[in-house]
């Protein structure tokens, strides 16, 4: 991002300085005290070979950077040479030259210009290339026009081309905003330049004491760098800089975004893929990759758990096989207790699932899943739970709620009485399921003495079985079979 190297200009500068040296030292014009003329051609030739178009990219880049960076130093040397030549001719002294601010060329535009603009100039990306040229063209052609017609930018758009007009207005506005913010930044950089000189003068004043004087051009140059850096740091750390910097970056981003949007609109019209589309695909791809990675890792964790369970099982088996393992072995007794205690909890979950399903939430899924868990965890009791529901699907919890819902649906304009009926119906359904659950629990725990009472689920089943002449024998038989183990408590 440095300024382009102009080797020829460098050579000319040195030529000029050499002539000044000759004049100052009174050398024979035919001689070249430090490489002027024919000798100068040697190093100029060397620089020429090291230009960006010669071979050896890395070395050329290094040379280019070096020359670009050293421009300030060269400028200072030239200023000093001019002052020295004047001195020898009876003109002002070097010190006077500095006091009078005679320091041309020391501060190149590459460092005292707008660094943000220079940075942005090199930005890669869609809508970024040629940004600088784009801004220049805009400033030259559209700038004056927009300046005169600034008010028109806020006029409302209408008609068939409303969208386009709005986009054009917005584009012009963001360009103008950027120019304004960039100008603010430039003014701040100018302030840095002024303060650098002020600090430099102070530092020079400090060196007027004997013993502290500057005795080489290089020392003077270093002092200048110190002054410039101090001035720059003071401003770059200020709140004003913070605000201006953010404003110029944001303004440029808005220009870029606007230009990108325009390009996308044209691409869309031509049926060409756009950056937004590619980004969208990239975003989805990354989300998928993340999800896949998580699944993969979870699966790996699952496999690790299975492996750990297998190890534990083997350990338990080994412990069981030890002599006296059954005689009051706490290790083996504990899992057994745990297994016993876990079963009723499972049944409770099943009831809860059934209850919630009557409220219309995830109907079926939980109720279906719960008995299955019951079967897995406690064979006999879970089986009863499942069978109790399968006795009559029309009465079972998840389905029980349907009539009331259907009733409500049949009357879209529900009256208050209809709502009350629906509510009562849902309430009764809930109660019956809860009671059924209690009955099942009672059965599961070996209870269920006597005849079920009230409107419990089990009682409903019983009533249904008694009243229904057409009830299949299989159903009744199955129902009895379910209860046979424990005195038919579920009836």
């Amino acid at each position: 991002m440095s300024e382009p190297l102009d080797v020829a200009q460098w050579a000319k500068n040195w030529e000029a300085m050499a002539r000044q040296a000759q004049a100052a030292l009174g050398a024979n014009p035919g001689q070249a005290p430090w490489g002027v003329g024919s000798a100068n051609a040697g190093w100029a030739d060397a620089l020429g070979k090291a230009n960006p178009f010669a071979d050896g990219k890395q070395q050329n880049e290094a040379m280019e950077r070096m020359l670009s960076g050293a421009q300030g130093y060269l400028g200072m040397l030239q200023s000093l040479a001019a002052a020295a030549a004047g001195q020898s001719g009876g003109g002002e002294s070097l010190a006077d030259a500095f006091r009078n601010g005679l320091f041309p060329g020391a501060f190149s535009s590459s460092t005292m210009g707008n660094p943000m603009a220079a940075a942005m100039r090199g930005l890669a990306g869609s809508g970024a290339r040629g940004f600088d040229q784009m801004m220049e063209q805009f400033a030259a052609a559209a700038g004056p026009m927009f300046d005169k017609a600034r008010g028109a930018l806020h006029q409302p758009a209408f008609g068939f081309l409303r969208e386009k007009q709005e986009n054009l207005q917005k584009t012009a506005q963001v360009f103008i905003d950027y120019q304004e913010q960039s100008a603010r930044y430039d003014r701040l950089m100018l302030k840095v330049g002024e303060q650098s000189f002020a600090r430099f003068q102070l530092k020079l004043a400090e060196r007027e004491e004997p013993g502290r004087q500057i005795e080489s051009a290089r020392a003077l140059y270093d002092l200048w760098i110190d002054a410039a850096e101090e001035a720059y740091a003071e401003i770059a750390l200020s709140e004003e800089f913070r605000e201006v910097y953010a404003a110029v970056v944001d303004a440029q981003m808005r220009v870029r975004q606007q230009v990108q949007g325009e390009i996308e609109r044209y691409c869309n019209e031509l049926g060409m893929p756009t950056r937004s589309e590619v980004d969208s695909i990239g975003q989805r791809l990354q989300a998928l990759r993340r999800e896949f990675r998580n699944l993969h890792e979870n699966d790996a964790g699952h496999q690790a758990l299975l492996a750990e369970i297998e190890v534990l099982r083997n350990e338990v088996a080994a412990l069981k096989s030890q002599p006296g393992a059954h005689a009051g072995s706490a290790t083996t007794a504990a899992p057994a207790r745990a297994a016993r205690s876990s079963t009723p909890r499972t049944s409770k979950k099943a009831r809860q699932a059934a209850t919630s399903s009557t409220r219309g939430k995830n109907a079926g899924s939980k109720a279906d899943a719960a008995p299955t868990r019951g079967v897995e965890k406690g064979e006999g009791k879970g089986k009863r739970t499942q069978d109790a529901q399968s006795v009559s699907p029309t009465v079972a919890g998840p389905v029980k709620a349907k009539p009331s819902k259907a009733k409500t649906r049949r009357k879209p304009v529900a009256t208050s009485s209809a709502k009350r009926r629906a509510k009562r119906s849902r309430s009764e359904a809930g109660k019956s399921v809860a009671a059924a659950g209690a009955a099942v629990k009672s059965t599961a725990q070996g209870g269920g003495k006597g005849k079920p009472k009230g409107n419990s689920f089990a009682a409903s089943i019983a009533r249904f079985a008694r009243k229904s002449k057409t009830a299949s024998a299989g159903h009744v038989a199955q129902s009895r079979k379910v209860g046979s183990g424990k005195r038919g408590g579920d009836r």
């Binding site: 960076g69 590459s110 007027e208 990354q286 993340r290």
Partner: protein
Amino acid sequence: MGPLNIAASELFEEAVRFQRKMSRGAEVLRTLDDVDFGITPKDEVYREDKLVVYRFRGEKKPTAKTPILIVYALVNRPYMVDLQADKSLVRNLLAQGEDVYLIDWGYPDRADRWLTLDDYINGYIRRSVDAVAKHAGVAKINLLGICQGGAFSLCFTAMHPHKVKNLITMVTPVDFHTPDNMLSNWTRNMDADLFVDTIGNVPADLMNWCYLMLKPMRLLQQKYVGMVDILDNKEELENFLRMEKWIFDSPDQAGEAFREFMRDFYQGNKLVKGGLSIGDRTVDLGRITMPVLNIFAEQDHLVPPDSSRALQAAVGSKDYTQIAFKGGHIGIYVSGRAQREVPPAIHDWLKARS
């Protein structure tokens, strides 16, 4: 008497010397080969996307039982820690008997635009740590985070403390709002969303330019005037060019991760203020209770010393050590003093906690 005491003849002599150096330097530059870097042999132990974890091979077997994993910043290439034979943190740590691994992030491209800090820290770093632990046959490892990689290491350790035995941070920003933090001042009011939504991945050139603009006169001018002084010394010139190569060999920054880092670290300063979340995890530096060694540079213009010093009050560890190195952000790896002081300090500290 004025401030200048330069005789005209001395002035022209100085100019002649400068000109002659440049002439000879132009010739020397033409004879130089491309500089190399990363001299210590290494083996790949883990790879994922563009990330590679390497294990360095020393001249002798490591004596340390717990390996060190170096987590470098995303904004530069990690070979700064192994630049050349006489400027290598890695080589010197190996010589001390440490077992050294390193994460090389690679160069993100457009495909990595959507990588988040969660992907980097809870994803890449976590899996790299696991891979190193598995490779070394240990449950916990030592983590050495550098600069932005240090901030990442702090986040990682706070979220996964059971995976880290000892934590070392070098030139790591912790408090992003110290008054001397220029980068923070510049980014504080910027619209991070507008910035990333517009340019996507943040180009390396833009990052480099921002770093140069921290000290524009020194880094764009004075440094190259100084280069003329060494133009006729091939070895010094190669060292200079090697450093130049590293400085400008920068990866682009994944857009989403940059957005989060800018918003939560530079703007929100959440690492010390609290409220930082990476993915669905909360980052609480108080959970860092293992031993912590914090090394910072006293003349660091990128990460001011006070920014690093803030770690002491933020971590929950009772075993906290702090070393102030006399040098800059880069000098802490490549200066002669750094070679003498930093690796032994790290080794001794770890040895006392092995």
